[in-house]
């Protein structure tokens, strides 16, 4: 052991290393009273062409539309029709019904993995609804709301989750890592924040072709620490790319609280300030705020006024995934203590306040969506569940590594097929 170096004589206190620690651990009583929630009317809505340095305070504030009495107020109110609000509510409820069902399917051993987005439905559903249908979404792994809000067939999502014979990704991807080009949904990676520079590249391509479509991308506050995030913001500001960056700050990255991404020092929207791009920090549990901010950013991008970074201030109500146990690192009742409520409950309250919705219709819709998910699940399971034989043909394992199969993969494919025959006998091949 080397000798511990002695501190030079001085009256300075010794240096100390700060290791962030969340305020509450299991057994503590969470209290979020010090989270600043400004009044809805307090936040001005600048024009979409405002220069980033003239709107910096929006990176540190909180854009809101719905107050806690269910009223839509202030300059950011997108003034959606009741019909549109009901569509939004329906999509968010469908996401939740789907999540509950698929979570249960994983627990029943029908697949390996699932990730819910409970409490964060607005950050993808309301955001997608504010985009044009041709705009390209580069999701992270918790944006199933994009697919739902673009009416992607539920059965295709389930087939992917089960890696079954109907899975158009051929059972190659971890459940929920969908790909849906016809629905403007880029292939989900699993490596974090890699989609950030890709979205910028797509947006740059669209701009270079004189197209009108923009790109939009999501990551969590945790993965905003990745280099890719900063690469993306650099390229976006350099080329004034028509892109919307969403940082879903749900407070938790598996067991690491937002402090491990720098959240103790400043907001995530403030990352935009250093890059000279527009930043908006918004109430991510307020679907109308999400809609309004996205619409603002989309208009800005589409008129060559550049990129926007939106921090959705929200809370991850459930575990990171089916492989996670949040009770091991945070109080069980943090989600209920969260001061910004639940996005579905808040939109429902708003519609009811408007006299455009009631408990009876809500319950009926919840039941209808639950039945829809259940029926679809049955159809999907007819095509197989993970590990029960009804997978894709073995040889497809070698397809799509390259456009054409090179000799070494042909050889390896033959070897794999011979192994199956050795295992299961000469008539092993189904059909």
């Amino acid at each position: 052991m080397p000798e511990t170096p002695r501190r030079p004589a001085s009256n300075l206190p010794p240096l100390s290393l700060h290791i962030p620690e969340p305020r509450y651990r299991p057994g503590d009583t969470p209290d979020f009273v010090d989270i600043e929630v400004p009044p809805v009317e307090a936040t001005p809505r600048p024009s979409e062409a405002t220069k980033p340095d003239a709107m910096r305070e929006l990176s540190y504030g909180l854009v809101r539309v719905l107050d806690f009495d269910g009223q839509a107020k202030g300059q950011w109110d997108p003034k959606l029709t009741p019909e549109r609000l009901r569509v939004m509510l329906r999509y968010m409820m469908l996401v939740r019904a789907f999540d509950d069902r698929m979570f249960r399917a994983q627990r029943q051993g029908k697949t390996s993995f699932y990730m819910k987005c409970t409490g964060e439905e607005a950050t993808s559903v309301a955001s997608t609804m504010a985009l044009d249908r041709g705009d390209m979404c580069f999701p992270s792994y918790r944006q199933q709301g994009i697919l739902i809000a673009r009416d992607y067939p539920l059965i295709q999502m389930m087939n992917q989750i089960y890696s079954n014979r109907g899975d158009h990704l051929m059972g190659r991807q971890l459940p929920i890592m969908y790909s849906a080009p016809e629905h403007g949904f880029f292939s989900v990676s699993g490596n974090l924040a890699t989609q950030y520079p890709q979205a910028v590249g797509w947006a740059m391509a669209s701009a270079s072709k004189g197209d009108s479509r923009i790109a939009t991308v999501w990551c969590g506050e945790g993965s905003s620490a990745e280099g890719d995030f900063h690469s993306a913001l650099t390229f976006a500001t350099v080329y004034n790319a028509p892109v919307i960056f969403n940082v879903v700050n749900n407070q938790w990255a598996i067991s690491s609280f937002s402090g491990f991404a720098g959240g103790e020092r400043t907001t995530f929207a403030a990352r935009a300030v250093g890059y000279g791009i527009a930043g908006l920090r918004i109430d991510g549990n307020d679907p109308l705020a999400v809609y309004a901010a996205t619409q603002w950013a989309a208009d800005r991008a589409r008129t060559n006024n550049g990129p926007t970074l939106i921090e959705h201030f929200t809370y991850r109500s459930e575990g990171h995934s089916t492989s996670d146990d949040p009770s091991a690192y945070r109080p069980a009742d943090e989600a209920t203590a969260w001061p910004l409520g639940d996005p579905i409950a808040r939109l429902r309250q708003h519609l009811e306040t408007l006299g455009e919705w009631d408990a009876e219709r809500h319950e009926a819709q919840a039941k209808e969506l639950d039945d829809l998910v259940k029926t679809t699940q049955k159809q999907s399971e007819k095509l197989g569940i993970l590990g029960h034989g009804m997978h894709q043909p073995f040889e497809t394992m070698f397809d799509d590594v390259f456009e054409e199969l090179p000799w070494h993969l042909k050889e390896q494919c033959a070897q794999m097929l011979a192994e199956q025959e050795a295992k299961f006998g000469p008539n092993w091949k189904p059909e």
């Binding site: 790909s179 080009p181 990676s189 890699t194 590249g201 890719d228 650099t234 397809d399 090179p406």
Partner: protein
């Protein structure tokens, strides 16, 4: 060298080009032919690249097709992946292969996997051009040969030309390929083939047959090796700069070697390798990259798997040493004439 793989459309006049000019010509021809192709990278725009590979391309094809980027290789490759998803055909330059590492996740986990993970919903028709290799007093960060890192990635093709004619034809084929290609350019031979004797004057490409390059479009199929010299005594598997070093030593020693320039490392031309080694019964592998887990290890394994009963001597490797590329001692590191001659003597005696 000019005839067999010429798959070109219209053969027009040839021009004497060095490797830089041939690479520039490939991009120029393709920018003309494919409105979706873009060239991007550090200093590649107005300035035309630190090695001049993109000189004049921005002026001719415009700023939105040939442009400078931030010094950010993760961004360069990541942005190129997104452009490919849109429908463009990006040809990013990484200024030195030594700088590719910040972009490696985008290459390994994104570009290379995109077709597979999306079942061809999205593809990545990107060609990453990057100068590699030593012998230019570049020190440890401007001299590396990372080809075996690239060949270890499933979903990426790795191409290394050794002369101007091949460089243009292979680069055009790489650009047209619908999968990501890493196109490693041996920078020591940009301006002339290298004999391996660093103290001798550099010979210009103009004295070499392969400097006669068609000005028009032509392509050389990826995955096909070239026989540089036919022979009976042994097979030498080699690529890039080392093709010329090898040829010099073989001629000096008067060895009847069959020299095979692999040109594409992945997919590899296994038929050419197998046929030659079975004919000669001896195999020497030469590369400049570090030895352990180098591409030579893969070649040696393939040769013994396929040609063991034809071998009359152990497969030998001549490589760089397993150290970083030393600046002042680079000629002691470089697998030059002495190391090659020693190996040749040994393998022919065994």
């Amino acid at each position: 060298m000019m005839t067999p793989e010429n798959l070109g459309s219209t053969q027009t006049a040839t021009k004497t080009m060095n490797m830089i000019e041939a690479i520039n010509s490939a991009m120029d021809v393709m920018l003309e032919r494919d409105p979706n192709m873009v060239v991007m990278g550090e200093d590649v725009g107005f300035f035309g690249g630190v090695f001049r590979a993109t000189a004049g391309l921005q002026k001719k094809h415009g700023k939105t097709r040939v442009f400078d980027t931030p010094i950010n290789e993760c961004g360069i490759i990541g942005v190129a992946v997104g452009m490919g998803a849109y429908g463009l055909r990006p040809v990013p330059e990484i200024q030195f292969a030594d700088y590719i590492y910040p972009g490696l996740d985008q290459l390994v986990s994104e570009a290379a996997r995109l077709r597979y993970r999306s079942a061809a919903d999205f593809i990545c028709p990107m060609t990453v051009r990057t100068p590699f290799g030593g012998g230019i007093f570049g020190g440890q960060t401007h001299s590396q040969s990372p080809e075996s890192i690239m060949t270890h990635i499933c979903g990426v093709k790795t191409v290394i030309p050794s002369n101007p004619y091949d460089a243009k034809g292979l680069l055009i084929a790489a650009i047209e390929d619908n999968d990501p290609v890493v196109f490693l350019e041996p920078k020591r031979i940009y301006n002339g083939p290298f004999s391996g004797y660093y103290d001798r004057p550099v010979e210009p490409w103009s004295k070499h047959d392969a400097s006669a390059v068609p000005e028009d479009y032509y392509r050389i199929e990826l995955g096909k090796a070239a026989t540089v010299r036919s022979g009976e005594a042994l097979t030498i598997l080699v690529y890039g700069t080392m093709v010329h070093v090898t040829r010099t030593i073989v001629e000096e020693m008067g060895v009847d070697a069959e020299i095979i320039d692999l040109r594409t490392l992945l997919p590899l031309d296994i038929d050419a390798i197998e046929a030659s080694v079975k004919k000669t019964g001896r195999c020497l592998i030469i590369h400049e990259a570090t030895r352990t887990s180098g591409f030579g290890a893969e070649l040696a394994a393939l040769v013994q798997e396929r040609c063991f009963y034809h071998l009359e001597a152990p497969v030998e490797r001549v490589t760089g040493f397993d150290t970083p590329y030393p600046h002042s001692l680079e000629w002691a590191y470089f697998p030059g004439p002495v190391r090659i001659a020693t190996a040749l003597t040994k393998i022919l005696k065994d």
